[in-house]
Amino acid sequence: MSSKTEKHPETGTADLSVEVGSLQLKNPVLAASGTFGYGLEFQQFFDLDRLGGFCTKGLSLQPMKGAAPGRIQETPAGMLNAIGLENVGVDGFIRDKLPLLGDCGTHVIANVLGKSIQEFVTIAERLEPYPEVSGLELNISCPNISEGGIHFGHDPEMTFQVVQAVRGSTRKPLWVKLSPNVTDITVFARACEEAGADAISLVNTFVGMSIDVHKRRPMLSNVTGGLSGPAIRPLAVRLVHQTAQAVRVPVVGIGGISHSRDALEFLIAGASAIQIGTANFYDPLVSLKVIDGLADYCRQQKLPGIRHLIGTLQIREGQFFYT
């Protein structure tokens, strides 16, 4: 964390700080994995110390070249992606990216992905010595690779095992990012909690598909891809709310956030912090706008701090619920 926290008087009057487990964030706004590169790409646009934090592109043990071309497709208020987890690998990240980030003044959360429990553990161990990495986010929910990823995320027992194993090999805050493509998300969230996770990040993308009707071929080389963007926000808000009711560990809300109002929905639903993904593509300054919007809201609503908003959704008695 940097000493630059007090630099921005326009948000300075509202206390936006939150805690995600033991991690103190200057504000609840992080950039989501896979939409913010390794942070460096955004330094041309703003000072990273404005953010509560950011999650790196998913790091695997070996560098991955990713899926064949035909990786993205726009959809109504959203997009499908099947990047296939192209990344520089954990060692490449440590060697080539981390030094460049320097003291960037915000939390760097390493999003990690293994093909086996052992790989997850090894990646965590490699990152352990670097204090610049504030925490880990286990991606057990990527729909776009055949091994690892969603295989863990769709089996509560596997979920438990991988989280427990990594928990045993890192002292850093451990977040687990869940797949929304399941019948009951709370089963997985509880498995993570029991295995010692410090927070649950959700959601990752929803599995979808788009077809070129002239060629009668899938738009994506991977056939299916993950849907993200504003389109999924109502689904994500519901899953975050449901999960926040089911576990005691904090929830980090993700899915279709592009405005402070969207972020507020997640916080009120029970998220302790939020991540912005797809919106970074079409508006690289979106995070700053959301942060400013949260500060405005605090002032308007005379909230002593944004943390007082978390989980304050009022539900009247007799209202139906998760039927």
């Binding site: 071309p69 497709q73 208020a77 959203g78 992606n81 060629k215 593509f281 079409y282």
Partner: protein
Amino acid sequence: MSWIVQAPVARAESFPGRNVLLSVEASDIAASTRPGQFVMAALQQHSSIPSPLLKRALAVYAIETEEGAPSRINLLLKVIGEGTRQLAQARPGDHLALLGPLGNGFQWEASGGKSHLIVAGGIGIASVLLLAQQLRNEGQDVHLIYGARSGRDLVGLEDFQKLDMDVITTTEDGSQGMHGLVTDGLQQLWSRIDPGTTTLYVCGPNPMMQAVSRLAAERSVSCQISVEVKMACGFGVCLGCSVKTRDSYRLACTHGPVFDAGRFVWEESQASFETVRAP
């Protein structure tokens, strides 16, 4: 270094063939764009969520100056689908949300004694005017072969003719210039070129770029292609725009959009861009 700007539209002109030229105030971008670079662009809307969601990549077609300083960029676009239809609605007073300049442009040697052959198909013309202007400024030998379906689709032709350079046009319906494809136009010059001192710069539909690349390869002529790929971000973070080169996958937005044709693997790159242009 790229700029994020809300750029006022100064002028909007329509041309036959659903082509539109937009002149927008964006002096930072205008001052720093090199030939072959592009911007990500969207019409500023009044809804909180843009529709379509993603910006569209557009080449910087031309740069206008005011009192000697670069002040406006020109975008030349053809209406294909949602994004370009939206952009084509822009009127003076509207704003474009722009990010740019982006990508690596064309490469050439400033030394003389070289011959530069620009080959453009359809709206591919938008990517090559700055290049032609720059080369002519340097006093180099430049030829343009410009093909379109019909004479009325040859948008921007005068801008090249103004440069006092050799221009060959081809049309599929024979309504202007040679009857045929740009490759037919190319054949006309082909016997006269010196493979050792000539460079081809190609932008247009993929089959055309592939055909030209093949011709170039046969005679080992150096050849650069500017490819069109679906892009979500334009600045290297989504990893969505990858194409295949002999080296590995490459991002069209940061490594490209200009690639060495000799190292480009067409077959595997297809899926990225085959649906960008309407059939």
